[in-house]
């Protein structure tokens, strides 16, 4: 049986994996939705884009639901303090997410052009707004959130809300997230569509690749000027720790300390930076899978870079650094972490297997002709 220390570390990694799964898989659904009004000029072209992701997007969204559920079970304090600190931002993301299931299913059930145009913009919103907000939320982690814990009850209280989260750094991170998922969507359209939609998607892929790389570089440079947190003193990491028992210090450029101390870690952000350029090259040579893999690597490496930079913090506090949550003191009990690890090890491979099978059954490009031939039953 793995000890508590190892379990805490594994769950940090697993939650990162789930978030990466969400960014890669649901990322291209959101990206396609963001590109929908631009790659499709006619109704049929838009239906091509919608049906590229339509049959499988629902399963991809579960990565988000599962990531949230895993944080609830493995890091209850993060779930509590994080979700309530981001109250209005998350509620806004939710309201946009409502539009996706209904948008996909309802859009083509009526022929009225205004009805369809409405749902096209609804789908667009459902892709753009959550991507922006998740980016802003991750960006704000580097600035710290305004929460603290009461020492007796561990009840969390806050100073400040949504307006404080809409700061320049957060907004740039939001823009980065939206551009990155749009790039992911463009790569998926290049992989799965034909004709005019394919041509336009490829054009957008090149433009978005430049945008994503520049934003990434900008964020990386900006991080040098942000003060970071450092864990100065802590109890035995192999035991249950209360968040208020540690000593936390602030230092300039602190979020990049790991990269300075362990230079080979720089490979991860480097991969993120190079991904878009490689995707662009592959797309130009019509290596469709290569382009999609490269944008997926960018999504994964970006999230991993952020997680490494914050390590071992997962939810820093701005107003009371001692209340910041780390993977060592936000974790559930040892039994819960173990039970959840066993369940995940058993079930996740099965999920990946049948998801792979479904994608194989539904493989092949979507064309305007296919939409015409089955107009009544497709999205």
């Amino acid at each position: 049986m793995p000890d508590y220390f190892t379990l805490k570390l594994i769950w940090w990694l697993l939650i990162l994996v789930l978030l990466i799964g969400f960014a890669i898989m649901d990322g291209f659904d959101m990206g396609v939705a963001m590109l929908l009004p631009f790659v499709g000029r006619t109704d049929e072209e838009r239906r091509v884009a919608i049906n590229v992701v339509g049959p499988t997007w629902e399963g991809n969204q579960v990565w988000l639901v599962l990531a949230a559920g895993a944080i609830f079970a493995a890091w209850p304090l993060v779930y509590a303090a994080g979700f309530s600190s981001y109250y209005l931002a998350l509620l806004l993301a939710l309201c946009a997410l409502y539009l996706r299931p209904v948008g996909f299913d309802y859009r083509s059930k009526l022929a009225n052009p205004r009805w369809r145009a409405f749902w096209d913009w609804a789908l667009f919103t459902g892709g753009l707004v959550p991507a922006l907000i998740f980016g802003i939320a991750i960006g704000n982690l580097f600035l710290g959130l305004p929460f603290r814990f009461d020492p007796t009850t561990l009840r969390v209280s806050y100073e400040g809300g949504l307006s404080g989260q809409l700061n320049p750094f957060g907004l740039v991170c939001g823009g980065l997230a939206a551009a990155m998922l749009a790039l992911q969507g463009a790569a998926y359209l290049v992989l799965r569509s034909e004709g005019l939609v394919w041509q336009r998607a490829r054009r957008y892929l090149h433009g978005l690749a430049i945008l994503v790389s520049s934003l990434l570089l900008g964020v990386m440079i900006w991080l040098n000027f942000l003060p970071g947190l450092q864990l100065l003193q802590h109890g035995d990491l192999n035991t249950a720790l209360s968040p208020l028992t540690k000593l936390v210090g602030q230092q300039a450029g602190g979020w990049l300390a790991h990269y300075q101390h362990t230079p080979w870690l720089k490979v991860v952000p480097l991969l993120a930076l190079l991904g878009p350029a490689i995707a662009s090259l592959f797309a130009a040579r019509n290596l469709r899978w290569g382009a999609f893999l490269a944008t997926s690597v960018t999504c994964a490496a970006t999230l991993a870079s952020a997680a490494i930079a914050l390590f071992p913090f997962v939810l820093p506090s701005r107003i009371d650094p001692g209340s910041s949550l780390t993977l060592w003191d936000a974790a559930s009990s040892q039994r819960t972490l173990l039970v959840m690890l066993v369940v995940t090890t058993l079930l996740l491979p099965i999920v990946l297997m049948y998801t792979g099978w479904v994608y194989r059954v539904l493989r092949g490009p979507i064309t305007v002709e296919a939409i015409r031939a089955n107009s009544k039953n497709l999205y």
């Binding site: 049959p55 579960v62 609830f72 079970a73 779930y79 309201c95 009840r155 059954v361």
Partner: protein, 520 residues
């Protein structure tokens, strides 16, 4: 009543509305998914195309409903973190587990295969597609299983223990959480209610086609599937009623007493109050009509166990609140770093009642300095308002009996080939389509309103569970979510009615009412 500034009440209102709204879509998904499996299984076995068309048409309506279920389900998961932060911290160690397993085991399954159900018809063999439909149905039902295990734990929190160092409840046994009697009974009862909803939906719409004499072959076969499936489900939902789970756990006993407006403990077996007017102030039921023995049999499944009345329950709660004050006093000293044996012993002796002590926080933050008046207020709080439970329960049971009658007469008339002349039955079936929803929502009101003043029965009071956010934020979300829900609901109903009116002709096969014959 609702003070507009009260975050707890606003969050409760938001949770209640979003949960009740979500459950407008869940039961139909649960029931309709198995009806799709039945129709498609008949198609695979007999090869008759009409059963394939039935699967696809009811599948279209399933899809319109499913989309809303997915959209509104997201709110419920996120809301624990956004609105119920202290709850999430206090019980996430246990409560988060079934939610995460639900995602892995069930939500992935249904969400991955729902797309293939719609778009896999030409890419899969008959048997493969039936397999996909079955996995979809299995996924929706497994989803209900894990959610109800989570909910069952709120009603009867077993397999967990309080840890004063981390200041939260922690898991001691997953199997105890899984095999929790309350959760298991709740699961069977809830999915069966879903099956009734699906069956009544298909029965009513088919009856409407029969009344209009259109697509008769299609409608009759659908009617038959719904009548058979519905009869079995309606009998199960009443026989396997949730009430049998009410004998375990302190708060479940309170709920039972409140549902029955049993103020006094009567010698076993207790009689049931069919109808009356609960008078909470005077602690009696006016104009009560009672049938002897029945309640004892239903609630305790025995003739010699008494059903404890509200007055006696309150006496027990007073003792537990006083003991909870001791537990809280010890806890404060433990948290402050005093780990002496005397303090630990005091905590161990009283910690089972800590939750009852926390009830006093509403009146005095320090708990230990509560006056006698405040203790009596907390004792009164342990009993939820009786009349909503009393009446919601009776509406639910009455409707359950009506469903058995409708499905029973429908199945019998079909078997005797006397359906067509019984137009009153067809009309009754059409009018009854919304009723399973009424029954299901009443059921949730009984289960969740009846759990008050707790979020976790006996462990964590509702007034402590909410996030310490501004009321203005909750107002904003309440208005935002409310208006989007309302808009989407109007759209959903419009589409649903439109496709019901179109009928199987919406499949564009050329074989149904209102379609041009295909050119040969």
């Amino acid at each position: 009543m609702l003070a507009p500034s009260d975050v707890v009440d606003l969050s409760r209102l938001q949770f209640a509305l979003t949960a009740l709204f979500h459950f407008l879509f869940v039961p139909l998904t649960l029931g309709l998914s198995w009806i799709l499996v039945i129709c498609e299984a008949v198609y695979v076995m007999t090869g008759q195309t009409i059963y394939r068309d039935m699967t696809r048409f009811w599948g279209k309506l399933f899809g319109i409903n499913f989309a809303m279920g997915v959209a509104t389900g997201l709110t419920l998961e996120f809301q624990f973190g956004t609105n119920w932060a202290y709850y999430s911290h206090y019980v996430g160690d246990i409560f988060g587990v079934p939610l995460a397993i639900e995602g892995l085991m069930a939500f992935f399954l249904e969400s991955t295969f729902v797309g293939l159900f719609f778009f896999g018809w030409d890419r899969l063999s008959k048997v493969q597609h039936l397999g996909v439909t079955t996995l979809l149905a299995l996924g929706t039902n497994l989803s209900a299983l894990w959610i109800l295990i989570a909910n069952g734990w709120m009603q009867n929190p077993v397999g967990a223990e309080f840890n004063y160092q981390t200041m939260r409840m922690e898991l001691t046994s997953l199997s105890a959480v899984f095999f929790n009697t309350v959760a298991q009974v709740k699961f069977v009862h809830t999915v069966a209610a879903g099956y009734v909803t699906g069956a009544m939906f298909v029965l009513g719409i088919s009856a409407w086609y029969l009344l209009k004499a259109r697509d008769t072959g299609f409608a009759l076969r659908s009617f038959a599937v719904a009548a058979g499936f519905g009869l079995a489900s309606a009998v199960s939902v009443v026989v396997l009623g949730d009430e049998s789970g009410y004998s375990t756990g302190e708060v479940q006993k309170v709920k039972l007493a409140a549902i029955e407006a049993e103020w006094e403990t009567h010698p076993a077996p207790a009689g049931i109050t069919v109808i009356g007017w609960p008078n909470q102030a005077a602690e009696r039921t006016d104009y009560a009509l009672k049938i002897p023995y029945v309640l004892g049999l239903i609630a305790t499944r025995s003739t010699d166990t008494p059903v404890i009345g509200i007055k006696d329950l309150k006496k027990g709660h007073e003792l537990r609140i006083r003991s909870g004050m001791q537990a809280y006093a010890a806890l404060v000293r433990l948290r402050a770093g005093d780990r002496s044996d005397a303090v630990r012993l005091q905590f161990e002796q009283h910690k089972a009642d800590l939750g009852y002590g926390l009830l006093l926080k509403k009146y005095t933050p320090a708990v230990v300095d509560a006056s006698e008046v405040q203790i009596m207020q907390a004792v009164n709080d342990t009993i939820p308002k009786v009349w909503p439970l009393f009446f919601a329960f009776r509406v639910m049971v009455g409707l359950g009996l009506l469903f058995i009658f409708i499905f029973g007469v429908s199945a019998w008339s079909l078997a005797r080939k006397q359906l067509a002349p019984r137009r009153w039955l067809l009309r009754l079936a059409v009018l009854s389509v919304p009723l399973p929803w009424v029954a299901a929502e009443c059921g949730w009101i009984v289960a969740e309103y009846g759990r008050q003043p707790w979020t976790i029965s006996g462990i964590l009071p509702t007034h402590l569970s909410a996030s310490s956010i501004d009321a203005s934020q909750v107002w904003a979300s309440l208005i935002g979510i409310g208006s989007i829900y309302l808009g989407l609901f109007v759209v959903e109903l419009y589409l649903m009615l439109k496709y019901i009116r179109l009928g199987p002709a919406s499949l564009a096969t050329g074989r149904y009412h209102g379609e041009m014959r295909p050119q040969t």
